[in-house]
Subunit: 249 residues, 6 copies
């Protein structure tokens, strides 16, 4: 059989839906935002801006796009988070009262891990499900994933559990950011999350000649064209702003 | 005995048969495509294009070369895959209905691994065999191999199991792409698959001076001359296209 | 719904309160000092200046800002500390007598670790709480954190214990410096403390072409703008002085 | 006693006998070929040319030098090997029928390793001995050694077993090539084989600035002068040819 | 409360007492010698000069400063040490007879370690205490620390034992040099000793462009200003001499 | 007490006795040869020249300096060694018959290691002692040390055993070369031998820009001045010759 050009018949297929972040520059390099209804991994070292980017995603989602959001924090408490972004002009407390967002601080006690050797994912689902339903959330943040899976060594089991989490989030039809800590030579500590996620954004705080630069890169975006270079970004009193300084490829 | 020039008598020997991919540029640097009826390993980091290249191999196989294909996915579900390539002009759903391709999403539950410590290869053979037979597939993709062998530590046993999988695929006479995740300092996580495979293609997404480039290299091709350099490739709204910019060696 | 600019309503929100260190230059690059009532991690290799910076924080807190402070040392004894900073013009003994500061040397015997496999955090709380209450301390130093957690391997448990320590300190409403030893390729030995801390300061003693330079970097500061570059600093007969030579970003 | 110049009395001593490979350039840089009756290790990464060099050694040995040879393959089956070198003008099938060479594919099943934890070397000796005797082989290839020793962790035992294999081959008076896979920072996976072998040839496929080069180096040759640099080589439709571009040292 | 300049009141505080080494240049960069009555760690690779520096510290202490010293060697025997420094003009045997120094070779037998898993520190204290008292030693060398702690893996316990050793030495009021072997990426094998020691001197033998240079660096000196750069030093027929070629910081 | 210049009184002390190797250049950079009656470690990767240097030490010792020598080989058999140096003009067989040297090949069987987990050092002493006494050997080579200690993991025990071996050799008053295989980032596999040895010579075969160079460095020489740089050396039909191209330091 002689080769034929592939018949293109996608005219009636919907393009991949996206959730805009509202963060200046980021929606440009992602060509419209994060994959709607899917989990995005935001990873990087300590202080690279994971939490800030996640909060802006939730706050701007609520304020600019009318989408309520749940921020599930394992690191910072609600009042700490509130205080940390006050200078950016965000009043998280007021937004909570208006039921536009919900901050949920999960405290994991030592005993919880010692009993079963790992954090109980089912408990998380109940708690997160309740938070989502309460405000009709369309956006979710889990900050950070390390708190959920620190006890799992077996790569196969970890992969299965990551899928379980991601599948649950997809069924809930929420657009999710999951933050992850940088590994040694890998994007994440386990080096697995980046393979299972639909979208991966890497934040870096690079120092060269004693001058630091913040850089963002879309490592992976299933189903979409996007800017593939490293884009400098700023964190200042206006929050995060990305400079999409190079043209899209 | 005095040395003699080797008597060449291969005139009647058939050249190594190949399966064209239809991907612009790739069939040029492989001098005709992937080794027919043999497994090819496509490896690289998260977001390098493993899944996309594999899908094009199946879709183009069906549309351009009339070869039905099975895509066995451990990562993405059928509807997700469909959505991810819709913008490329491929309608996977329609192609499934026309029995030109078959998408099979395998969900591996935690319990499956916990029971035996590893994924059941025999179960895979039954399921994959059934899928192949249903549409008379000539091409197969397994995306990704990490899902099959994450529980195996012993190098000898892993090698034996890899051979078992590869032998089964060869007996089925299907041309196969198996995708693999990048290891630390090795082509794959286990650092073994590249030695057992007949053909190895490495995809990379390299960032230098904040500019990213996608590069493809044929690391190994048993039985065939091929381009040996790194070739830049693009992923855009037309899918993958390789630039065979240097001459063959 | 059409996107709207985020409504800024933070005018009535308090800015993040800070504790000035009094160390020349450091309060400039931190825009006012360390986060008040929160723990700051000061990390670096042997001899980088962790202990000295911590002592100045306590001494200057007491002398310049009228805030009594507790220095809990696992490394050096009270008289050794006193002798080590005598040449800087600090008389720790006298300051102790005036109840402006309190030096507490904790001796951890081998048996203590052998019995339970780890240092008893509850014992620390009682002892530290007593020291804080005695002088009404507003500042605390723990030098170094390695002494507390050397027995803990499990990342999940270590994270839980770090949080327990940090939560206790926050409840006590003391501004704390915790020193940490440099890890291999990570900021700290466990590579965890920097993720849990609210503020992370890295000290380095870098040698290039046989000339050494001391450099300080604010790796992370939750809730605040700060200088992000590497700033040279000196340790001389006046103690530590930082040169905020580049402008704030 | 006053030092005297060493009395040279080797005139009647035989030089180290060698087996020519017939591969263009290789016999030049080895000054005559591989050490006759001794094992040579050919090592390198996937696709560097180990198998091809080994086959040429056997084929050219049979055709050019009248020495029958046994190729014991753990990777490729006889018909695959045949197909892989068909384009080079070698008809392995015909050569087998003429009893000039013997291809022996050893299939190692998982159960074999699981039972004893390692591959049975005595079984190999019987099988290989039979193959050697059948055609009066003077040359042998074992491709690759990793299949034999993957279960052995103890360095002392591995060394003892390597010696047992090498001694057996020497007693059989066959000139042998054993191929080995590249280790991380070492020439071989175990980092031992290169110390026990009499001759070690390293093959590399190096990529720089996106251009690849194949390089060969004689790492070690007990008892003989040889070229010590890295020599570029080609694999094309004529097989392997080495360019002895630098003069011997 | 408004900030006040810190009230300096150290006029009556004694500066940190030091023990001069008498080694040309070293007392300059340390501004007077090693910390009196405290332990100093001298670390570096094989052949960097640890033992030689330690012997000069003892010999010059006895001859130039009238301070008797004990050299406790785990590596070299008394007569070997004597022979090794004979060419430097030191007659250790005679100095022993004059009770100015004492060489004590400790032989650790395999059985000693096998019984308890570690070397008996209490036994060391008795033996060393006796040696110190015999000659009224003011200086002590332990060459090398690796012999004492090779069996200890647990970081917490090792730290506790190091402190026990250092506290014992401080109580004995002897100025001590402890030598330590270089670790991989750390100053010492355990990467702990440098954090516990009051003073750390690193010796290096660096080779660049086939030319070697010996370099010395004061990594850390609690309580004192010192030269912080790398200083070249020589070992020749006069022993060690340091070139304090850069000015103090 | 005011400092006095150290009273030099070594005039009557004997300089460190040395055993010349007779190898051109080597006795120059060692200022007379290896330390007489002490063990020297010669280490390096596969093919760097350890065995050749050791044989020349024995052969030249016997022929040039009238000192009989024992070569205890774990790698090569007597006839192989003989053949390997035949082209250098050395007739080892004849020298054996003249009782000027003794070649002793020790075969370590797997069972020997499996029984006790390690090689029996006492057995070695008996065998080596017998060989030494037979010909009144003054020089000994052990090629290579890895064969003796591969089973020992515990650093403390390994150190104790190394000392036991070295002490035995010193009591026998033989000048010894022990060869050792290169470790990863360390001079030897265990990274211990170089600390215990009195003299350490490192051989390297470095490749740069595809050109190889052989380099020798005296890493350490207790008790003696020596050349400290890297010196190029050749292995050709005359054996080893070192080019002492830089002046002594
Ligand atoms: N539909 C699409 N259109 C354009 N680019 C796409 C599309 N889908 C994926 N890509 C690009 O291809 C990259 C690789 O995707 P994928 O094949 O899923 O990577 P991998 O399987 O190697 O993780 C994505 O990160 C994105 O940059
Ligand atoms: N028949 C052939 N014709 C030309 N080149 C070939 C042929 N067979 C193999 N090659 C080339 O030689 C390379 C090395 O093959 P092989 O010897 O199988 O590698 P290895 O055994 O080291 O993994 C292949 O990757 C390919 O580039
Ligand atoms: N309110 C703020 N105003 C300005 N900059 C801030 C603010 N909060 C945080 N930052 C900056 O953002 C950085 C990243 O903070 P964060 O998002 O908490 O990092 P991560 O979660 O990745 O550890 C901080 O180190 C600081 O430099
Ligand atoms: N009293 C002092 N005067 C001048 N410099 C000092 C004094 N004390 C310490 N230093 C310098 O500060 C360095 C760091 O000391 P320290 O704070 O104890 O380090 P760390 O706690 O990080 O190990 C010392 O190595 C020394 O160079
Ligand atoms: N007889 C010889 N003539 C010339 N060169 C030789 C001879 N024997 C060995 N060589 C060279 O010396 C190198 C080192 O050999 P050897 O001493 O056996 O190395 P090692 O013991 O360090 O593994 C060989 O690889 C070869 O290049
Ligand atoms: N008597 C001496 N004369 C001159 N140089 C010597 C003498 N003794 C040792 N050296 C030099 O000093 C180096 C270091 O010796 P040593 O102090 O024993 O090292 P370390 O204890 O760090 O292993 C030796 O390798 C040698 O270069
Ligand atoms: Mg965060
Ligand atoms: Mg994929
Ligand atoms: Mg300190
Ligand atoms: Mg091969
Ligand atoms: Mg020493
Ligand atoms: Mg050798």
């Amino acid at each position: 059989m002689s080769p034929q050009p592939p018949e293109k018949n996608s005219s009636h297929l919907p393009a991949l839906p996206k959730s805009p972040t509202g963060i200046p520059g980021l929606d440009e390099i992602t060509e419209g935002g994060l994959p709607k209804g899917r989990p995005t991994l935001v990873c990087g070292g300590a202080g690279c801006g994971k939490t800030l980017l996640s909060i802006e995603f939730i706050v701007r989602g609520a304020l600019q796009f009318g989408e309520p959001g749940v921020f599930m924090a394992f690191e910072e408490k609600a009042d700490e988070l509130t205080q940390n972004v006050a200078s950016l002009g965000y009043n998280l407390e007021q937004m909570q009262q208006e039921k536009r967002i919900k901050l949920d601080h999960v405290h994991i006690a030592r005993s919880e891990i010692e009993e079963t050797g790992e954090y109980n994912l089912d408990g998380l689902f109940i708690r997160l499900g309740y938070a989502i339903d309460t405000i009709g959330a369309k956006r979710v943040v889990l900050d950070t994933i390390e708190n959920l899976f620190s006890g799992l060594d077996n790569q196969g089991i970890l992969r299965a559990e990551l899928r379980r989490l991601f599948d649950w989030l997809k069924e809930k039809k929420v657009t999710t950011i999951i933050t992850g800590e940088r590994g040694d030579g890998t994007l994440t500590r386990h080096g697995l999350e980046e393979y299972v996620s639909d979208c991966v954004i890497l934040l870096e705080h690079r120092v060269s000649n004693q001058i630091s630069t913040r850089l963002m890169r879309i490592v992976k975006y299933r189903g979409s064209v996007h800017g593939t270079n490293e884009y400098p970004f700023l964190i200042d009193k206006e929050g995060i702003s990305v400079l999409p300084v190079t043209s899209l490829t």
